[in-house]
Symmetry: C2
Subunit: 130 residues, 2 copies
DNA sequence: TGTTGATCTTCCAGTAACTGGAAGGATTAG
DNA sequence: CTAATCCTTCCAGTTACTGGAAGATCAACA
């Protein structure tokens, strides 16, 4: 299977697939014409990457997950720990964004938003109230 | 004022301050010895940048905000629009992270997390349930 | 005066995770 | 046969810094 088909099946851009190969996440075979040739296991791996990246795992974390996945002796505890850590990070990020949203919402509300030159948002940013 | 002091006053690393200068966000004077010399307006600008970045504005958005800030004829509506757009983006990001959190929470809960080799997290990622 | 040690300078390179584009070979459809 | 599409490699750019090397300058102390 060529890279175009692999791209469609994995929902990953061809560029990204080549990039993943470059950084050693997979090693597809080569056809006689030099084209990459993806087998079912490769597609499986690519889909795995697509899902894990979509869940917010970094590429390095994906590499770990893939090695755990490939290791039939690994404990599910290892994977669970990785996922739990990621969950903490996500919660932290959500909290940060909420606080940010609160501040900005306040600013947008108090800004009259017309043609007058005074603006509470810029005042806040410039430290007028600090 | 040297870059070290400017760094302490603005809560920005010296490296970052030099970087901001490099990309044209400010132009501090130079002392005779070649050292950068920051005046109060520069510090003000740096603090502005520090706050705006912390609120999630990109460097380019900060550049816009700074030019609006410097323009006494600008309408507060311009700033409000920028902030409102940013608010939308933040809300979108929060929604994404929540959905992500939901999926991962489910996976972590269903994973027994012991030494057994089967693991619902990897199953899900590998597409076993898809 | 000498000499540390901290601070400053510039420049080069690297990070994450791709993305875009150029130049050129292979394949497929009509 | 030709045109369009797909494939290859390689180089460069993105965002917003961060790290480090090599060398100048400064402040403080004996």
């Amino acid at each position: 299977m060529n890279i175009g088909a692999a791209s469609r099946r994995s929902a990953l851009p061809a560029k990204t697939i080549r990039y993943y190969e470059e950084i050693g996440l997979l090693r597809p075979a080569r056809a006689e014409n030099g084209y990459r040739d993806y087998c079912d296991a490769d597609i499986h791996r690519l889909k795995f990457l697509q899902r894990a990246r979509g869940l917010g795992f970094s590429v390095e974390e994906c590499r770990q997950l893939l090695s755990l996945y490939g290791d039939s002796h690994r404990a599910s505890a290892d994977v669970k720990a990785l996922a739990a850590t990621k969950l903490d990070q996500i919660e932290h990020k959500i909290a940060e964004l909420r606080s940010l949203k609160k501040t900005l919402t306040h600013l947008v509300k108090t800004c009259h938003g017309d043609a007058r030159p005074d603006c509470p948002i810029l005042d806040e940013l410039s430290g007028a109230s600090a």
